[in-house]
């Protein structure tokens, strides 16, 4: 199992003309790798992550995930791909504000087609695994701290046992201590569950602890692999 990016180019049309944010980007991520993508603001990191998660399409090039060319998938197939194979973790957590911590995870299980009868049990177990206490299960996001919300977000990302977790600045809104805890959580997941994790970050310390770092400069990518 691998994620292979081949000659990706992404151009946005703006009022001031076309802007190319990704230029002929190619790389491969192996199963179970913990990968970071770094780069300046506006360098195209988040765009690349969106393309990997089938939220956006490349202007040219292809992404092959487990032998499937995802940009050629139809709309509902891309949705299924996101539900089954991808787990998203966002900088702003992006939990559904009207749902409790437990319900947010159950929602992802519902979208992934998990059996209704065991959704609550699985969601509870996932939240416990990321460190959410029982009394926090029924709290809405507004009554959870940033770190707790990000833990819920990670539990939601893990709900359908995805092969890939795409995390966009997962520690960007957290203090350094909490940020480190969240990073450790992701790192443990990568190691224990053999989940492939792609983290977009500004934090060079975090990037330094991943298996592989891709640096985006002016839309082009360089790779640094650690042993």
């Amino acid at each position: 199992m691998s994620l292979e990016v081949k000659n990706i180019t992404k151009t946005f049309t703006t009022s001031s003309g076309d802007v190319t944010v990704l230029k002929d980007v190619s790389f491969t991520i192996s199963n179970g790798e913990f990968v970071s993508i770094i780069g300046k603001s506006g360098s195209g990191k988040s765009t690349l992550l969106s393309i990997l998660g089938a939220l956006d399409s490349p202007t040219s090039g292809s992404i092959v995930v487990d032998d499937a060319n995802i940009e050629k998938l139809k709309g509902h197939e891309q949705t299924k791909y996101r539900a089954k194979k991808i787990g998203f973790v966002f900088q702003q957590y992006n939990l559904v504000p009207n749902l409790t911590a437990l319900e947010n995870v159950v929602l992802a299980l519902e979208f992934g087609g998990y059996p209704a009868a065991s959704r609550v049990d699985r969601a509870t177990a996932l939240l416990a695994a990321v460190g959410i206490e029982d009394d926090q299960l029924t709290r809405r996001p507004s009554r959870l701290s940033g770190g707790q919300q990000q833990r819920v977000s990670i539990a939601r990302a893990l709900a359908n046992e995805p092969a890939y977790i795409l995390a966009d600045e997962p520690t960007g809104n957290l203090d350094s201590v909490t940020g480190k805890k969240i990073f450790s959580l992701l790192h443990d997941l990568s190691r224990k569950q053999n989940t492939t994790i792609v983290v977009v970050t500004h934090d060079l310390d975090i990037a330094g602890k991943t298996d592989k770092t891709f640096t985006l400069v002016d839309g082009k990518i360089t790779t640094k692999t650690r042993s």
């Binding site: 988040s46 939220l55 949705t79 539900a83 939990l95 009207n98 159950v106 992802a108 979208f111 359908n160």
Partner: protein, 458 residues
Amino acid sequence: MNALTRGVKNTLRSPVRSGAIILMFAISIALIVSMLVARSSVLAKINEVKSTAGTNITIRPAGTMGGMGGGDPLTAAQLNTITSTSHISSTIMTLTDQLSSDNTNLTSSLEFGGFGRAQRETTNSSSESSTSENKSTETPRTPGITITGTTDVNSASTDGSSLSISSGKTIDASGSDTVALVGTDLATKNNLSVGSTFTAYSKTFTVSGIYNTGNRFTDSGIIMPLKTLQTITDQAGVVSSVVAKVDSSDNVAATVASLKSSLGSAADITSEIERAESSVSSLQGIASLAMTGVIAAAVAGAAIVLLAMIMVVRERRKEIGVMKAIGGTDGKVVGQFIIEGLTLTVFGAVIGMVLGILVSGPMTTSLVSSQNTSSTNRTSQQLSGVRTSTNSSEAPGANFIRGGFNQIRDNASQVTASLTPNILLIAAGVTIFIALIGTAIPAWLTARVRPAEVLRTE
């Protein structure tokens, strides 16, 4: 928790806002229900009025009116033509005659007075001029006694209701017995009571009943079966007037035209078509107003739901984007927002229908009375216009106009609000239509949300 539960739960996310939306929607549904009730009640009344008011056509021999004038009675052949004319549902046939002291033992309860004398002198001036020497001895002291042969004794009633029999019983007007109803004044004058007898055209009649109409002229007459009068006056098969009832006021004009065509110049035909039209025009105004109210309330209701849901979708674009990003299909995400819209609609519809049922009665009354006031003003203006133009204290025809207005007022004031299952079904249909309109566009907006764009701009 599924899309249904989430949709319902999200409706309660902002209780104040949802409450306001539900309340506004409920008011528009209440308006729809009450306007539908008003319209339905008024339409029912219109149909009732059309089948009763202004549906009579009076056919008289050409040149006669109220026993005056000249001309030949309507013949059996003409009567057959009348009864076989389309849309005529029933007929009342009448033959009138005058009994004088030569052919009855009764004494009239009326006096000539100045009006009667003048009328009589005008009528007899030419014939009496040749026999003026006998004038003092031949002139009767009282007018003749009006005797009416009819197929329906109630036609003698002055107010259109059943003839009031103060003692005794009515007669079989379709028969040919020598029985009669006697007016209360004539009965008093001649000491007649039920079972008494009198003679007319050498026949002895038994008084079956004494009637009282409150009209002195009418109460000084005699009513007997048509066939009996035709027989004793040797006028078999003929009548002096026919009142034909048409099945609906909508068909009066066509029926009059048909009768004029078939009877030609032999008959004078009059109808109450204008009165019928004015009777229903007021009600039709209320029905149109109610229909306008239904449409306006439906549009307002749809706009409320539509704008509320557009606002919800716009506010929650990010949430929609996140749901799609984590694997929510368009169907599931759109479904949740449709359920939110439907929840608002259902709550509003239930409250609105209950409210509508409660206010439909007063609303109908209010609509009818406001239309009445409007009609009153218009009629007053018409009357004063007539007075001004004729420069007299009471304009000719004013009573007719006032009578017509009274009829309109009576018709309108008798409208009773009635809620039928059909109205509730229509209201439910309108609600579903509003819900579809109110949620379809927001649903389309929801489906168009692209998660990458929403998450990029966060």
